[in-house]
């Protein structure tokens, strides 16, 4: 039976591509903010484009932070993409009239990329750690990024010794500095790039995620 995925519908930009890409790799996809569906699906995809604070406001209006918490408490998979990844941190220094805190699943702030030309726009390669489930088979491929802010530091312990099996796997990318391009942390995964816009490599990453559900 194919995995049931909900793409969280909270008014964030172009979500159609995410729906189609997930369908393309075999998931049964629903675009919804219905708490019952969000809680019950095999995987929750959290999109996000535009301003961090506007996304957080939209997410709060849809009760997103609580729904995500409830899923994670039950070990049920969640994948955040682009600003949908950034909101998982404590907050962002992106300017806004109304400043919102992040969901805070992970410590740290999202900061502006210290690069000459921003946004970071286009295809870039990443450093995926050994044992990555998301990047299996596409470790050396390029992925499509479009963002001006990112988590520049990962502040939790990473895989090491006895913790190796349970510690988060961190994938980094370079643009002006090293930044967090993807996280695999138990049921909670995220990518700063857009797998749904990253051609065959992105589809493979989504296939890996859907296959794990």
């Amino acid at each position: 039976m194919s995995a049931r995925v909900v793409v969280l519908d909270y008014g964030s930009g172009n979500v159609r591509s995410a729906v189609r890409a997930l369908e393309h790799v075999g998931a049964e996809v629903e675009l919804s903010a219905d708490p019952k569906l969000v809680a019950a699906c095999d995987g929750l995809f959290v999109p996000g484009v535009g301003n961090f604070h506007a996304c957080m406001a939209g997410l709060r209006a849809a009760d997103g932070p609580r729904l995500i918490d409830v899923r994670l408490a039950g070990g049920r998979p969640v994948l955040g993409v682009c600003v949908g990844m950034q909101v998982l941190f404590d907050g962002s220094e992106e300017p806004s009239a109304a400043v919102e805190e992040g969901i805070g699943e992970w410590p740290g702030m999202v900061r502006r990329l210290p690069a000459e030309i921003v946004p970071h726009m286009g295809w870039n390669t990443v450093r995926a750690p050994a044992g990555s489930m998301l990047f299996a088979g596409v470790e050396t491929e390029s992925f499509y990024f479009v963002h001006s802010y990112a988590a520049l530091e990962w502040e939790l312990p990473v895989a090491d010794g006895a913790m190796a099996r349970r510690a988060p796997l961190i994938t980094t990318c370079d643009y002006g500095t090293s930044f967090v391009a993807a996280v695999e942390n138990g049921p909670l995964s995220a990518t700063q790039f857009h797998p749904e816009k990253s051609g065959a490599a992105g589809l493979q990453l989504l296939r890996n995620w859907v296959g794990s559900l």
């Binding site: 535009g50 286009g122 479009v146």
Partner: protein, 257 residues
């Protein structure tokens, strides 16, 4: 490891069909935007740009349908430009499946539109498209500097092109699509001076457009500071493949996907 230089084919779409002659082998229907988008994706295009040249309002619905059908089957970024007048047009295009929207004349008429779009959807969706020509005296002699035009280069605006690009970037454009109307269609190469001037004036990505004829031309535009290169006819007529262009770019030391 580094950000790859992007190679972007551009398709003119009128009432749901690709116009301006496309001569692609192996296509059942060379006028179908979705078929062409798939073909370019398979060739290794890094993004696609649709320029909606439809004049009628009824045709706009058809354009949304084209964007919708393309976004269902092609999983690389899609920019749609042409006829975007306000925030609602942007909203409609994004909802249909566009990732970025090109804005041209409407921003010249009312520059605040750039900020309105960036505030609502984020700077990354807004590609400021500037049709630029060299200033000339009445007798055609160069007058120095570059001017922004409308109506496909036929009508001057008096705006200095470099200053306009800088202002658009300040207002919140995420990217500049820099079209040289002098070079367009010549296949004699991009306008290198124009690219260098705009590159020095903005800190957002610059897409060079107009004048591509050989693979080496694309590399020269990137040498001059462009982050991406866009072309139409050389790809549509099969004069050049995306792979040939990428080989030349790579040989010039620019990373490609």
């Amino acid at each position: 490891m580094a950000l790859a230089a992007r190679v972007i084919p551009c398709l003119d779409v009128d009432a749901g069909r690709v116009v301006k002659g496309v001569n692609f082998v192996d296509l059942v229907d060379a006028g179908d935007p979705v078929e062409l988008a798939k073909a370019y994706d398979a060739q290794g295009a890094d993004e696609l740009t649709f320029l909606d040249v439809t004049a009628s309002s009824g045709g706009r619905e058809t354009t949304y349908d084209v964007v919708r059908r393309t976004a269902e089957q092609v999983f690389i970024p899609l920019t749609v430009g042409g006829g975007v007048r306000g925030v609602d047009d942007v909203d409609n295009l994004l909802r249909a499946g566009a990732d970025k929207v090109g804005v041209n004349t409407a921003a010249i008429v009312r520059p605040e539109l750039i900020a309105e779009i960036a505030d609502r959807f984020g700077a990354q969706v807004l590609v400021l498209s500037a049709d630029v020509r060299r200033r000339r005296l009445r007798d055609g002699a160069p007058a120095g500097g570059f001017e922004v035009t409308t109506h496909g280069g036929r009508q001057g605006t008096g705006l200095d092109a470099v200053a306009w690009c800088a202002r658009a970037a300040e207002l919140g454009a995420g990217e500049i699509l820099l079209n040289s109307m002098d070079a367009d269609g010549t296949t004699a190469g991009f306008d290198i001076e124009l690219i260098e001037l705009v590159r020095a004036a903005v800190t957002i990505p610059v897409i060079a457009s107009g004048g591509a004829g050989t693979p080496g031309h694309f590399a020269e535009a990137l040498d001059a500071g462009a982050d991406a290169v866009l072309a139409a006819s050389v790809f549509h007529f099969g004069t050049l493949t995306i792979a040939q262009v990428k080989d030349a770019i790579r040989a010039h030391g620019h990373p490609v996907r």
